[in-house]
């Protein structure tokens, strides 16, 4: 009996240790990747990296100014398209989403959330690039917006649902029409959460490459025209990483570090947006009553 009890206690301790080690491994992977990025990329970050355009293959030096500007334009335009649709869909789901249409929209959003981004890329190619006759940053932005909308819709819905019912009832009781209640009381209360969701969504699309391969395409020169091909950091990293030159690899690491910094900044800003409002990160939504 004691032997059995001992065995059970040993198993319990071992498994506790094992899951702890597994967690450590997962965090270690992150630390390794970030550490490599800094170790291999930081030394290349100088003034010319940020201010110069790429030089022809084989030459040393050059920068990724065009890719940095391009990323900002492509992602910014995608956010302009994606944010209203995504947030509007989320509000619909929270306000009117109890019926059948709500169920369908919710389900489609979750399914689209997992759609391979490359498929969205060829979709944007057929609908925008092919009719227009040439690659364009705009097509890339649309593809990124499509990727962003489902996620944004679901986060917005979740955040709006966290707003207490009493607040809505109070506004309605004061004679506010529903739409003003929804926009000026409910959505405003959930604003911090919606901003968080938006920032996370933008962070996610900022690193996307696959949907841009056949839409924004990439551009060796500096371009700010959204109807023309445009370079982004992610496309630049792909080109440089798969290319044969050591100089390209060096620049790829540096560009990756910049892109990662951008994404991390957005992610941290997202957390800060919630924290500044509530004083602490939000608790996970309460489990539903069973």
């Amino acid at each position: 009996m004691t032997a059995r009890r001992l065995r059970r206690r040993v198993v319990s301790t071992l498994m506790t240790g094992l899951v702890g080690v597994l967690s450590f491994l997962a965090v270690l992977a992150l630390v390794l990747i970030l550490g490599n990025l800094i170790a291999k990329g930081a030394s290349s970050l100088d003034w010319s990296f940020f201010t110069r355009n790429p030089v022809p293959a084989g030459e040393a030096g050059g920068g990724v100014a065009n890719a940095i500007v391009g990323t900002v334009i492509v992602v910014g335009l995608a956010a302009l398209i994606g944010l209203p649709v995504g947030i509007g869909t989320g509000l619909y789901l929270a306000e009117y989403g109890s019926g059948r249409l709500g169920w369908i929209v919710r389900f489609v959003a979750d399914v689209l959330n997992g759609t391979p981004s490359i498929v969205v890329g060829i979709f944007a190619w057929t609908w925008l690039v092919k009719p227009m006759g040439h690659f364009s940053a705009f097509a890339g932005s649309v593809a990124l917006a499509v990727l962003m909308i489902p996620m944004l819709a679901r986060t917005t819905e979740e955040m709006v649902r966290l707003v207490p019912h009493s607040l809505r009832e109070a506004a309605l009781a004061l004679g506010y029409p529903r739409w003003r209640t929804s926009l000026r009381v409910v959505a405003r209360t959930a604003l911090a959460g919606i901003v968080t969701g938006s920032l996370v969504g933008i962070a996610r699309i900022a690193g996307e490459t696959a949907p841009l391969l056949f839409t924004a395409l990439g551009n060796l020169n500096f371009s700010t025209s959204v109807t023309q091909p445009m370079q982004t950091l992610s496309l630049q990293i792909y080109t440089y990483a798969t290319g044969p030159f050591a100089e390209w690899h060096r620049l790829a690491w540096a560009a990756a570090l910049v892109l990662m910094g951008l994404v991390l900044l957005l992610s941290l800003a997202a957390r800060w947006a919630v924290r500044s409002r509530h004083g602490a990160p939000p608790a996970p939504p309460a489990p539903p009553a069973r």
């Binding site: 702890g20 929209v105 399914v111 997992g114 490359i118 498929v119 060829i122 309605l172 939504p285 539903p288």
Partner: protein, 342 residues
């Protein structure tokens, strides 16, 4: 002179008598209470129009893929799925190696990622000290924030050299006689692709699993511990089985992610159009084929074949994701469990 008939002024306020069912009483009061006015109708219509965008988008995606893939669909039929010849010059296309590679790399990634992710989720919900939970959860979720192309870069220049030096030689020494570890290891391989995929999907599986485990009522744990179970036994016999459907959903969700992952896999899997059993050999995936060949497709039939590849990939991921969603919803009905992690 008679006084002109004056229009009766509408009731200035929705007085209580507006509630009386007299047919001539102005209905404005009720309308406000029911929330039906022009602004509301407009608001609802606008939101509904925005919300309809998503289902329409899904339909448009599907329709466009089917339409563009039609020439290849009618020309090759089922042969497309199980033949291996991919010859753009001769106009013969069979996608079996890509389909095999996609499934093999994703399933292999699951084998590596599931224990890791479940371990993280269980540790964070059941064993970790309180002060450690938030930071570790945040760090693991950060793995999901790393762009795919950065994973690819890391895979090429860090993971593959590491595998070549430290993993493959001992692996070959022990199990080199099996067909699964056959051949020369050049670096770009199914194994490298699966490893990268595994790291990439860990945060998704872990985040959803964690939310599922958090949703398990604590009475489950208390009952098990009260009957004399050790803490691990409580977790393994009372908590995990309770959340089983949701955990399976989380794993399937990770599978969906892995199936559609493009850039990182394209950069490390080797892109060889061939079916091989050895994980040390290069392979190909559907997403990689699209990334590599789509802009180079010179003939209409070639392009159409690639669209069919996209269609197959899309249908597989939609089915996989739908299954995952239904399972997760069963655990946490109506809430957006896991959607934040997506």
């Amino acid at each position: 002179m008679t006084t002109l008939p004056v229009e009766p002024l509408p009731a200035p306020a929705p007085a209580p008598d507006a509630a009386s069912p007299t047919p001539h009483a102005p209905q404005a009061g009720w309308r406000i209470l029911r929330g039906v006015n022009a602004g509301d109708r407009l608001y609802r219509a606008a939101l509904t129009a925005l919300a309809l965008a998503l289902p329409l988008l899904l339909l448009a995606l599907l329709a466009e893929l089917v339409a563009s893939a039609w020439p290849a669909l009618t020309r090759f039929g089922g042969r497309f799925l199980w033949t291996s010849v991919w010859d753009p010059v001769a106009g013969v296309f069979g996608a079996a190696p890509m389909i095999f590679g996609t499934l093999a790399s994703s399933l292999l990634a699951l084998v590596i990622a599931v224990p890791l992710a479940l371990g993280v989720a269980i540790y964070l919900t059941e064993f970790a000290p309180k002060w450690l939970r938030q930071p570790v959860a945040f760090l693991v979720e950060l793995l999901a924030a790393i762009p795919s192309v950065v994973y690819g870069l890391w895979g090429i220049f860090v993971l593959i050299p590491f595998l070549r030096t430290y993993v493959v030689p001992p692996l070959r020494a022990v199990v080199g006689w099996t067909p699964f570890f056959d051949g020369v290891f050049y670096g770009n391989s199914l194994l490298a692709g699966a490893m990268i995929l595994a790291i990439m999907i860990v945060p998704y599986i872990a985040a959803v699993s964690r939310e599922v485990l958090v949703a398990v009522p604590s009475s489950q744990r208390e009952a098990a511990v009260g009957m004399g179970a050790t803490r691990w036994e409580a977790v393994w016999t009372a908590v995990v089985p309770y959340g089983r459907a949701g955990l399976i959903g989380a794993v399937i969700l990770g599978l969906g992610r892995a199936l559609g992952e493009t850039m990182a896999v394209t950069m490390v899997i080797g892109n060889r159009h061939d079916i091989g059993l050895s994980v040390l050999q290069p392979a190909y995936t559907m997403a990689a084929a699209l990334a590599n060949e789509f802009s180079e497709a010179t003939t209409d039939l070639y392009l159409s074949a690639l669209f069919e590849v996209g269609l197959i990939l899309f249908v597989i991921t939609v089915v996989v994701n739908a299954c995952a969603r239904l399972l997760i919803w069963r655990v946490a009905r109506g809430t957006a469990v896991g959607s934040r992690a997506l």
